[in-house]
């Protein structure tokens, strides 16, 4: 029997593989299947009517809007932050990189509470905002802010290593050939980042649409007004509308599957891109 240096033999391999597959089945596949089973438990008609509910439709619209705004802002921030980190030397650079990761280690609920503390009626900036009749908490801006906080690292974290690996030479070449700053950015920098950027946007979007904790604190759960899909699911479930809750939840499950497929595809492209960088060194 062939033995390699690390593997203990075929039976160890078999046991480990079985364990890993069992975990995946128990914790990922089974819940996903049960979501779909529950969603269609009362038939397709009930499934469709649950989704056609006006409150649900408004929740879907709001989710798309929040995701659109926060992902766009995130792209802008991510590109700027990655540019700073990868292209400039400045004091506090490693602090910036650490801070970008902060949302990963802070509970989303805390993030939401901070928004309330800042912009709420009794918060630091609350009275000032009220004077100008601007509503942030229990309204769209608050939900966007909360989502932004939670998703902040996604784009920047993808772009920083990519830009560092690619180096600044192509950009310098563009400038020395007479390109303006914008021409360089649009014709050289951005095309080189496209796959990494798309990957970051994908992860960012999945998180933005699925975010519960932070948004829950700032939304105020106003039916048909400030409910996103995850909040709508919770509310339906609390109202004992289990089938409807799972029908809406199946949308999020679907989003997860689509994200997964797109992620696979992108990882494939991104690996090619990085291999090309290494090859050209």
């Amino acid at each position: 029997m062939r033995r390699d240096a690390i593997g203990e033999g075929t039976w160890t391999k078999g046991v480990l593989l079985a364990l890993a597959l069992a975990f995946v089945a128990l914790f990922l596949a089974l819940p996903l299947a049960s979501v779909l089973v529950q969603a269609f438990s009362a038939g397709i008609a009930a499934y469709v009517s649950a989704l056609a509910d006006p409150d649900t439709i408004s929740a879907i619209e709001l989710t798309l809007l929040v995701a659109l705004i926060s992902v766009s802002l995130n792209v802008v921030f991510g590109v700027i932050a990655a540019w700073c980190v990868a292209r400039f030397a400045f004091p506090g650079k490693s602090l910036l990189v650490t801070l970008i990761d902060l949302p990963f280690s802070v509970s989303p609920v805390v993030a939401g509470l901070v928004q309330v503390l800042l912009f709420g009626l009794h918060g630091w900036l609350g009275p000032l905002l009220q004077d100008f009749d601007i509503r942030i908490i229990f309204a769209l801006p608050g939900m966007v802010l909360a989502t932004m906080f939670v998703t902040l690292p996604f784009v920047a974290r993808e772009l920083i290593p990519l830009m560092q690996a690619q180096g600044a030479e192509e950009e310098e070449a563009a400038i020395s050939l007479g390109a303006s700053g914008w021409q360089m950015f649009l014709r050289v920098t951005l095309p080189n980042l496209r796959w990494g950027l798309l990957y970051g946007v994908l992860l960012c979007n999945a998180r933005a649409m699925g975010e519960f904790g932070a948004v829950s604190v700032v939304s105020g759960h106003i039916r048909g007004l400030t409910n996103t899909i995850p909040l709508q699911v919770e509310m339906l479930f609390d109202d004992y509308q289990v089938q409807a809750a799972f029908a809406v939840a199946s949308l999020l499950a679907l989003l997860a599957l689509v994200t997964l497929a797109a992620k696979l595809l992108l990882e494939w492209r991104l690996a090619d891109e990085l291999a090309a960088v290494r090859q050209s060194r």
Binding site: L177, G178, S180, Q183, S280, R281
Partner: protein, 383 residues
């Protein structure tokens, strides 16, 4: 004639490291100049400052008499070829070469057809017309290098700057491309500066060589000048193979620590370092000779010998057929004659040429005696 590039008192510091220390340099119109030095000598920094990719801490860079300080990189019309080529990886070869023409402000931009015609012509010039639709990742290193050259030439630069143009290529391609680049320079005649750490490359390719070390220019001259008469110890050691021999000067004679006489010199007594190129040492099989052949490496046109001379080992290069004809073999005794060398007394920066013993007119037998005793040497010096 005003020089194309005039560099005056340029210094550059990166943190605590002084990369360039008060550098002055002129580059003449149409010449091919090499910046040669070990890594960390500041040559790439100087090139990047000329291009405007880096700003000097102090000093001036003039292009045709005009201060470049106020001119942005994109207005300097320098063609910069990067060490790793920095081709735009998502563009075809054609698009890469066309880039500089396409990003011009609208009033100066050529019509599409004219841009295409010019790109085709440049690709023909670098013999890559057939690869126009390929992507950089599909090209070999040498082809990428030529695309980078065509791309830089497209903007009709007044100066071409090349950073280690052959650094990333294997030895065979490197030699071919070197000859090809020389030919290209003859054809195009653009003032060009290239950076290299390879002395062979600099000496073969350049009209003039600038030898740099530790942020300073050590010597500027034609390849023949810097090779034949290095002005200081660094240049001598850096250019070509050389033996570095610790020795001392006594009454006009240069002696190894154990008293073996190597030649004469007009210098004050004291410790000194003698540089001798391997081909400037002659050996002759002699019974009781002062040297012992420790190793013979006879591959190629030159045989390389390692000869033990007292406590010192010296490298000697002899044409292979002479080595075979004389029957020099490992373990044999030989007499050793230094035919030329450069002596650097401890305190002086300037070197002194060594006067060979053979030129004193002394017969071969006396030479042997001289090698054995200092008294003979001193009497010879007095003569």
């Amino acid at each position: 004639m005003t020089p194309e590039i005039h560099i005056l008192g340029v210094s550059k510091r990166f943190g605590a490291h002084l990369a360039l220390d008060n550098v002055d340099l002129d580059v003449q119109r149409g010449e091919l100049l090499a910046l040669l030095g070990p890594s960390g000598s500041g040559k790439t920094t100087l090139l990047r400052i000329i291009a405007g990719l880096e700003a000097a801490d102090c000093g001036l860079v003039l292009f045709g008499g005009e201060d470049t300080q106020l001119r942005h990189v994109r207005e300097r019309r320098v063609g910069f070829v990067f060490q790793h080529y920095a081709l735009f990886r998502h563009m075809t070869v054609f698009e890469n070469v066309a880039f500089g023409l396409r990003v011009r402000p609208r009033p100066q931009r050529l019509p599409r057809a004219e841009i295409a015609a010019r790109v085709r012509k440049l690709l023909e010039l670098v013999q890559l017309g057939w690869l126009a639709d390929r992507y950089p990742s599909q090209l070999s290193g040498g082809q990428r290098q030529r695309v980078a050259l065509a791309r830089a030439l497209a903007i009709e630069p007044r100066v071409m700057l090349l950073d280690e143009p052959f650094g990333a290529l294997d030895a065979k391609v490197r030699k071919e491309l070197r000859r090809w680049l020389r030919q290209l320079h003859e054809d195009v005649r653009v003032t060009s500066v290239f950076v290299t750490h390879d002395q062979e490359e600099a000496l073969e390719l350049a009209d003039r060589v600038v030898v740099m070390s530790a942020g300073r220019i050590e010597q500027v001259g034609t390849p023949a000048e810097v090779y034949a008469s290095p002005t200081n110890a660094f240049v001598h050691e850096f250019l070509g193979d050389t033996n570095r021999l610790e020795c001392r000067v006594e009454c006009g004679c240069v002696l190894l620590p154990d008293g073996i006489v190597l030649g004469r010199v007009e210098a004050a007594a004291g410790a000194a370092v003698l540089y001798v190129r391997p081909q400037d040492i002659a050996v002759m099989p002699t019974v009781g000779g002062s040297g012992e052949v420790r190793h013979v490496h006879a591959v190629g046109p030159l045989a390389r010998l390692l000869v033990q001379l007292g406590a010192t080992a010296v490298e000697v290069a002899v044409p292979a057929e002479i080595c075979a004809g004389l029957g020099i073999a490992r373990g044999g005794r030989v007499s050793v004659t230094v035919r030329a060398g450069m002596l650097f007394p401890q305190q002086a920066r300037e070197g002194l040429p060594l006067t060979p013993l053979a030129e004193c007119g002394a017969p071969f037998s006396t030479l042997l005696k001289q090698e054995r005793g200092e008294d003979v040497c001193c009497s010879l010096a007095r003569a």
